[in-house]
């Protein structure tokens, strides 16, 4: 660590307790995601919760395909890598044969709401006892900035040039509201990671969703709005403001079903 302590404090931090460091479930702090990306922040809260709830030993994460596909290699839990959009069916198979496992999917909006919309709807309707987590940055990040089913009206991407237009490109799908309508869904909430208070809310909602799985209440979904400055075509420090002003009006935060 190349620490730079302020002048006036001894470098051994004597008398000070370490109150925060990245969780042990993070095998490596280094990752290849972009400056200002929100997904690592979401990952950190997920891993911290797995640790706090004491479920690491029986956790099975089913990962979709997106920028976050880089995460399994730094997560100290078992991971099954699925195909784009197909994590919910794989998670269904996992949870059905290992009902004592703690199972969650890790997907993006392109993965869950474009390619895999059918899979998450069916899993929710069946009340499968796993937690689906979607990192919603309203864009296909990994391919370089293309429209997904969650891209908001007016949002410029390389396939909604000049801004998503209702007549030409149709309307975004609000996955939380959609899934909440289905019997079999026990808990649905939407959070974000663009501010400290939003991050706190993310952790709370994830906790409640995980709890509903551990109590076998049914299917749970947590939608986490994450920053993607690269494919929002803004600078990293502008990511939080873009999320607040462009995404949250379409995707308000809160508990949608509990």
């Amino acid at each position: 660590m190349s620490a730079i302590p302020p002048a006036g404090l001894r470098t051994q931090h004597s008398g000070l307790q370490k109150v925060f460091s990245p969780t042990d479930l993070l095998l490596n702090s280094e990752h290849s995601l972009c400056p200002g990306c929100g997904e690592p922040v979401a990952l950190r809260t997920i891993l911290e919760l797995i640790h706090d709830l004491g479920v690491r030993d029986r956790t099975i994460c089913v990962a979709g395909i997106g920028c976050y596909t880089a995460f399994p290699m730094i997560m100290d839990v078992d991971v099954m890598q699925a195909l784009h959009g197909r994590a919910p069916s794989v998670a269904t198979g996992v949870k059905r044969v290992r009902p004592d496992a703690f199972v969650f999917t890790m997907q993006g909006d392109g993965d869950m709401i474009s390619e895999g919309l059918q899979e998450v709807i069916h899993s929710a309707a069946r009340g499968e006892q796993f937690t689906a987590i979607v990192f919603n940055n309203a864009v296909f990040g990994e391919t370089g900035g293309h429209m997904t089913a969650a891209t908001v009206l007016g949002q410029h991407t390389k396939t909604s040039v000049g801004g998503r237009n209702r007549e030409r490109h149709g309307n975004p799908i609000k996955i939380s509201e959609l899934i909440a309508q289905l019997d079999g869904t026990a808990y649905v909430a939407r959070a974000a990671v663009h501010t400290p208070s939003a991050i706190k809310l993310t952790k709370q909602y994830l906790h409640d969703a995980f709890r509903s799985q551990l109590d076998s209440k049914g299917f749970s979904l947590v939608e986490i709005l994450t920053m993607c400055p690269t494919d929002w075509f803004v600078t990293p420090d502008q990511g939080p403001a873009f999320l607040e002003t462009k995404l949250i009006p379409t995707y308000p935060l809160g508990v949608i079903k509990s």
């Binding site: 991971v79 919910p88 044969v97 059918q118 899979e119």
Partner: protein, 357 residues
Amino acid sequence: MSERVLMEGSAAMAEAAIRAGCRFYAGYPITPSTEILEYMSVRLPEVGGTCMNAESEIEAIGMVWGAAGCGVRAMTASTGQGISLMQESFAELANAQIPVVTINMCRGQGDYFQATRGGGHGDYRFILLAPASAQEAVELAQLAFYLAEKWRNPVMIMGDFLLSHTSEIVEFPPSTYPALPPKSWAITGAKGRRGITLSPLGPSEKLSTDLATTLARVIDKHAAIKVEEVRVDTGYLDDAELVVVAFGFPGRFVKYAARLARDKGMRVGYVRPITLWPFPSQVIADIADRVPAIAVFELNAGQMIEDVQLAVLGRAPVHAIGGISHDHSGFGVGPLLSVEYILKRIEDVYPRKAKVA
């Protein structure tokens, strides 16, 4: 149960899978594979297993992927169209080396290319088994689960309409396959160890993915399978002047036609590949060295004939004596699947210079 029972082919295969330890099935109703799903829906819960009627074929193979990835013996079945839908998952779970067993209850024999070449992307192969009777299907179902785990490679059993809906006497012998090593690759929850990833993209070790190495390891695996796992049924080869190659239930018709041809003085032999991949190329190559003519009977526009031609490499003429043949519904066998027709075609291509004994 070692007694003999009368069962439809689909039910017999499903029962054989359960006897082999299959405890998870996911499928989608599609003719003529539907009876397997029906049988599993009743029987799997009886043995503590799970049967899912998935909402699509893609979700069915996804569920099987998840179950098999946890180390549970898992299976799906469909027919050609549904198998088409599953191709992306097939290719990728083969890369991840997940041992699933699949059944294609074909409507005819038109899915040979799809099965042997793979309709998915990349350098993957499925081990392919083609039974010609319900009893053989029972034995191949057992073998399928063994081979899938032995090689960590998916296996497909090619059925057809006759297998699915014909009732035959079957018995279920106990498995005699050797024990396999524990499934250290299976996803179980990382108790007592570091977490592992089961992925098409790279080895399980964390902190590294090496796609090139992952994809290259199949070359050695495929080569070893080709050496060790060829299975073939042959007959009347020693003095044959014409050898007919056929797979699946039509192979039985060809065997019978060969006997009838012999009664008429024609020296006809047959080769029935049981493994379509690995294909019994060496057996056919050896025959091509000493037999004047080879014929291929298959109910399609000519698919397996290419593998035969590749094995023969021009050393003997290879005649196509089959063809596309369906009944009016498209689901059932057509008029070409008849011993009389096969015998006539054998007469058509029997080498003229050969003596009629």
